[in-house]
Structure formats: C-alpha cells, structure tokens
Amino acid sequence: MKRNDFFLLLLLLLGTLAAFLLRPEPSTAKAEHIQVTVNGKMYGTWKLNTPQTITVSTPYGENVIRIQNGAAYVSKADCPSRDCMKLKPVTNSGDTIVCLPHKLVVEGKSKNGNGGIDTIAH
C-alpha cells in the first residue's frame, strides 16, 4: 500500500507544479486605479494618485480601504481574522487584496486594463 501513496504524492506534487505555471503573471507596471468588487460584482473604482479613504459597507461586513502614496491597503476591517489588513498594499497592476469572509477583492488596474505585460517572448 505504501507504494501507491508515493504515486499519489507524486501526482499531487505535479499538480502543484501545474498550479505554479497557471499563476497570473505578476506585473511590473504601476497600477493607476483600483477596482473593488464584492461577490464578483463591481463595487467601484478609485484613482491611486489621490489620497483618500473608502469605506466599503456591505451585508457581508465592513472594510476601510486607504489610498496613500499610490498604494491601496485595508486600514480597518471587521472580519474575524483580519487577514486582509496584513496583506501587502496594492501598488502594481494585478496586485490584489482579498477579504474572503466579506467577498471583497481590491485589484490594481492600469489604464489599458490588462496589466503592463502584453506579451512575453522566450
């Protein structure tokens, strides 16, 4: 029985490798604005060049997003684990902060909307 375990482990590790390859390309382009969605639906967009505070209040809970120095982060949240407050601020296109219990996604976007990298030649 032990031998099958190894095959299973190998299969899972290969799956993990595949998952690594599936990762969206991290962009080096600075984000110009953030897009906030709740439960998959658009909540709003805010430019990153103006310092501001945004309170996202939904039936799922409340998060306060602070935009400062061209970056956005969660400064206050009432979710149990407050993981969203510990994540790195959104600075580049494609960066995200997610609050899972509140179904909140804050994503950095650039003007043309598809990140800074258009194609990669190897």
Binding site: M1, K2, N4, D5, L8, L9, L12, L13, G15, T16, L17, A19, F20, L22, R23, P24, T37, N39, G40, Y60, C79, P80, S81, D83, C84, K86, L87, G94, T96, V98, L100, P101, H102, K103, V105, E107
Partner: protein, 164 residues
C-alpha cells in the same frame, strides 16, 4: 444505539477541541487561512474505525458546530465545501484499499483545499486567486501528510481497544 451516539459524540468533541487547540500553535506563515487541520485527523480515524454512516455524522457535526461556534457564516460555507469533499474522497480512498492512512490523509488534505479554492473562485470570480493555489496545495499536502503519519500511529494503538 446509545453506544453509537456516545462514540460519535466523543469523536466530534475531540475534533472541535483540536480545532481550537490548533489556533494556539504559532502557525503564522503569512498566507491567510492555512491551518494544520487536525480536525480532519479525527474524521479520518472515524473512517477507519467506524461504519461510514457514523463517520459521516461525525464529519457533518464537527463542521456545523465549529461553524456555529466561530460565528462566521461565510467560513461555514467554505468549511462545508472543503470538509464534505475531503470526507467523501477519503472514504472512497479508504474503500478502494489502495492507499495507507498516510495516502488517504494526503488526498483528503489536498481535496479539502482544492474544494475551498474552487468555492472562493466561484464566489469572488477573480483570476488573482490563482496566485494562492500552489501554496494552498502544498499546505494541504503537507498537513495531510503529517496528519496521516499521526493517524497511522493512533490506529495501531486504538485498534487494540475493543470499544468500537
């Protein structure tokens, strides 16, 4: 019947306590939501020691009660998705008789995280979540592996006790 309820009750209680205890462990890897998953260990023991129906009852009860105690509705949804998927997969692996408890636990851990990931993907509909998938898988595999080793040890001891 009373014996069945008592046995199931004990298993469920142990699972719930482990749920709390693992929060005490300094397990901060920086990726939100990664836990040792010791409660899954209890479910796996139940699959090996008890009839499937009772093991299922234990699995369902510990998910619902833990969700109730945590007071977090969304967490309950994720816990259900992960816990139920992992339970049925582990039961299938157990019945197939192809793997040792370590392998079953391995599969259970991975399936648990995959199911939760898919749930998150469906709810949040953002590609960004894919960034976490490899780490989720690795964590599930690692936790499943450690749990599996523990279960092997426990089974060798508990198997000798003829209460079940």
């Amino acid at each position: 019947m009373a014996k069945k309820i008592t046995t199931a009750g004990i298993f469920t209680a142990v699972a719930l306590i482990l749920n709390y205890m693992e929060m005490l462990l300094p397990f901060n890897i920086g990726i939100p939501g990664i836990k040792p998953g010791l409660a899954n260990l209890v479910v796996l023991l139940a699959i090996y020691l008890l009839p499937p129906a009772e093991a299922f009852a234990i699995a369902i009860c510990r998910i619902l009660l833990a969700g109730l105690f945590s007071g977090n509705g969304i967490a309950l949804a994720f816990s259900l998705a992960g816990g139920l998927s992992s339970f049925f997969f582990m039961l299938a692996c157990f019945k197939s008789n192809c793997f040792s408890p370590t392998g079953v636990s391995l599969a259970g851990g991975a399936v648990h995280n995959i199911a939760q990931f898919i749930t998150a993907l469906l709810l949040l509909q953002t590609q960004a979540l894919l960034l976490y998938l490899p780490f989720l898988l690795l964590a599930g595999i690692a936790a499943g592996f450690c749990n599996g080793l523990l279960v092997v040890k426990l089974l060798s001891r508990l198997g000798k006790i003829h209460i079940f």
